[in-house]
Symmetry: D3
Subunit: 238 residues, 6 copies
């Protein structure tokens, strides 16, 4: 069975990362996963939220948003005082994923804001966000170290994410929107560069799934994540 | 290593369900999982949300809230126009979990609201919510059938949920709050009565986890879920 | 004329109070007035609101909410940023009523939150809230004294509340919902244990009322309040 | 004991009403009760709120607001999405009071908005609002009748309101702000022109009050209300 | 071509200012420009907003609101948490215009709030607001100086505003509502007493405008502004 | 005097426009004015807002937002239910400017949403937004015509905008942020391709300005606008 865009079942879409896409934030990368384009930036702020003050620990948090024009039908902005549930879930996931690889003591009492703004959406925006946000974070930390604001590297490991779905009985890697909307089961897997899990979220959108299917899904995710890691390394250079 | 409340690693807390705890809604159950008490109700409304009208399909949705007095420190109500992210994530999870076992065509164009209000919280409120909401839903559907408003049973399978955590290197079933706050990894597993997964959410709160650990966690979850299923059946009676 | 539930005109519904219904808050009572069930809790917080700081005085405040499933038709939660007018009026009334019997100097610079959450509503939720909140407050204060956090008893008197209505020309005590919706005049009377008024709120829902009717209504309220006082004392024990 | 402004205990402040103060609304009166100035207007809108449509009945509703500059210290506007509790209580009271004297059938399916905007506040703004709103309402109805939009007079009786307080043991009529903030008990009494009660709200701000005190308070209110009625009649002319 | 109210093209409406209309704020003026009536007040608050603290500089800010009854059709209050765009633009313009003539150093670390509340609207409410707010501000400053709270006069120049429009090809001064809604081009010009511009806002509501038209519009504005200045001076007296 | 970036007083920054930057919306252009980068998109929606239905006329409206990472210090998102005043003013200006060149009858009952999202901000975001939005709009209209959804071209003229400022006594074209924050006077001029004004907004940020200065400012704006027009034409091609 050929996929809608001709890929093999275990093939990622074409990934491109443009580091330094914007200049204002400490870290900035435009990640393109096929037609999904996400601008991931890392901004450094001295100080931490109130509940964390005087702990000696830093903080990493994320915000996620889709531009109104990122999808075929225009999407209303989150301006009404209520952020929709999906947006909240995604930005919380991105925040947790990145915090998993940061040593907050080494970061010191400063906050790194990761903003993932989707310029164009074609499925997999949250996993692209995590994968890109890691690069922006690493770049921002590099600058902090160059300015000797932090002594030892607070980044303990890299982190990336990928989706895998079960579509009409077949396990497919890195779903585009057209595949995603037909998926019976949808997994997002977040893993570190050393191959340890940070988060596994699997949900049956329609029906349910078995143990055997989950095993196959996770194995395919691992394969994709190894490739993403490599692209992250190349983008960051030495 | 003994657990804080003396349980074995693979032992659920004491579960009690009081069906018909309140009379106004079609289904109502007070589920107690140790000191976690959640009032789960099912209210039937004729009609479906706008985007689903004239589809011939029903709708099942959930809301979750903790009473301010449910925790040791008083928790502010969600009244500011912004529902906090955790609340949104949980009620979306409950809604998806229950929808997975309902045949929307058989339900017909009506909405079932599942309200999970936490009277007392000691960890595991979302999984208790799912487990209790299934009983409330089943009771509400029974009444609809008794009134001959629906012909064939729209409930395809039962559904329940349990948490498993990795605490100081040990895999523990059904975490209470004191265990949960020390957990390095936290899984919520939602399964149907026939043993198929609906949702698997595993997150490293601190550090990361390996494939082997995940396998052990899922196996222990399965054990707990079989017991919960039995208690649900007993509560619903014939 | 018999009442819908067979009571005499001057008869209260069956009252039950379960002290210690939940364990997290300092005081907790589930009050049942017929089919009206309200969970009243008292939570102690060190410190007072900003405008009262450094006054040496304590503060007592209340919040009131109905669970969505507490009424026949599901009631939307107060989540939109605007609390409906009725909810605000009721919680302000509860707060004022309880403050009337507390010596704020003796309480010292701490806040007691009284939460009245209606699990099931069948009329008279605000008066049940006041009557139950007094018991929760007394229990919380007892704990503060046992811990020697306050020296002399800040509770000067007990307080309870009851409704009386004019329904089709007859004065009736403690209206249930079916009576309440047909009432032409509706009074809520808040009185201390020593028989002094704290608040009298009488409103004509349809038409108006005379001086003579008001006199009769207040006399019947007094009768009901003496009984409620006795039940409060029994619930609190010695 | 002389009052702060030299009045006798049972003396109203100087009352002035300027009918037609603004021209845009159907009814408009600037009522001055001493230094309390409230602009009361009545605007007619064809149609009724959704829940009342096709009932053949009209609707009367009120909004109340204080200008920021109406008090000594500037008062923030109600712009944050949450209307403060006091504002809500007052506008609900004004609405109920005026509805009590209107025959909704005769009014027909139209809405009359009563806006009470406080230009200057010196105590008694809600009672001045009710007393003034009646005049604005009567003027608006007169115009509707002149245009033959309604056949028979929907106003069944007049309505006015006054405050009475217990200040340092003395019962005083129509409290100004300086008296009001020292009052131990505060009553607002709403009565029709024929002397029937619409609403009685008595609250102990500090301490409590006895039956005998309430009797004296209500008698003094009656005296003030008879005078207000006369001023309303003069303002409206024949 | 005669104007709807018989004025010449370059004629202002009848202007009246009642200084001291309310007593609570430091400065208060009711400005009437034909049927447009705006209550402009100036309230002094010690201290400045957070971002300006410890700068030694004062602050002047404005709020603008229309009463619901100020227009023919009732206008909903800005209560929903979102202030409409027009209101925001106007109050920002008023604030900027008044700040242009105040020496913030001489004012010292205090805030002057300018509230412009429209009691009746017939076009030109924002320009009337600026013209009246200047008088309220001057009065408030006079009081501060009388109390010797500020040493040297912080008001460097007077300021006033007027509208000019292009209606069916004719340039008209000080548009009333009926003219304004038909205007093709609408200018608001804010000028100091010494004839220097503070703000020029010209917008084509329909079509566009040429350089020559703009020149004529600005010249007519200048004429009107000289008259307004004179009325301001007379109102303030010596 | 040399400018901070070496430009002559009447020189625009380097302008680049990438048409088709994203694919989802009907029109999409990334406009770069020096380091100011704005993504302007045009999305077509069948139907018009309620108040315009059945008029036979179309509608054009704009939204403007800055990404949090677009400025040096991270800017909080407009998520609290209140859009800040500056954002509202800008998006209203963009909407009005584009509507000035569209024949709504020819557009027919459809809405074109213009979204201007600032990816990087270095002064002049609103004028870049207008200049880019015109290109996005023209592209979207071209597609509507290609699909034969509209018969005759609804775009009557082109439109562009530029800023001019008075900085330390010198008139400068197209201010970058560093110049803008020191400007004493700031003009935004919106003009059509045929040289007619749509909007002139001139404000003294500090001090005031004379007639002679305004004349010089407008002349320099005209020069810049002629160049922008040419770049727009080249971007759109034949």
């Amino acid at each position: 069975m050929a996929r809608v865009d001709g890929r093999r079942a275990d093939e990622l879409r074409l990934i491109k990362m443009r580091r330094g896409f914007t200049k204002a934030p400490a870290g900035s990368v435009l990640i393109k996963t096929g037609r999904t384009h996400v601008l991931c930036t890392a901004t450094v702020e001295e100080g931490v939220p109130k509940w964390r003050q005087d702990s000696g620990l830093g903080w990493v948090t994320a915000e996620y948003e889709m531009l109104p024009s990122s999808t075929g039908e225009r999407r209303a902005r989150n301006r009404g005082g209520k952020i929709d549930g999906r947006t909240q879930e995604i930005q919380r996931l991105i925040g947790r994923s990145l915090r998993a690889v940061v040593d907050m003591k080494r970061l010191g009492e400063r906050t790194i804001w990761l903003d993932c703004d989707v310029l164009q959406a074609d499925g997999g925006t949250r996993t692209a966000g995590i994968t890109g946000a890691y690069v922006a974070l690493a770049e921002a930390v590099r600058k902090l170290r160059a300015k000797r604001l932090i002594e030892s590297n607070p980044i303990m490991d890299s982190v990336a994410a990928v989706s895998v779905g079960l579509v009409r009985g077949k396990v497919l890697l890195d779903l585009c929107y057209e595949e995603d909307k037909d998926a019976d089961v949808d997994f997002n897997v977040v893993q570190t560069g050393r191959g340890r899990y940070v988060e596994v979220q699997g949900a049956a959108e329609a029906g349910t799934f078995s143990q055997a299917q989950m095993t196959k899904i996770l194995s395919m995710a691992g394969k994709g994540l190894r490739k993403l890691r490599k692209i992250q390394e190349e983008t960051l250079g030495k």
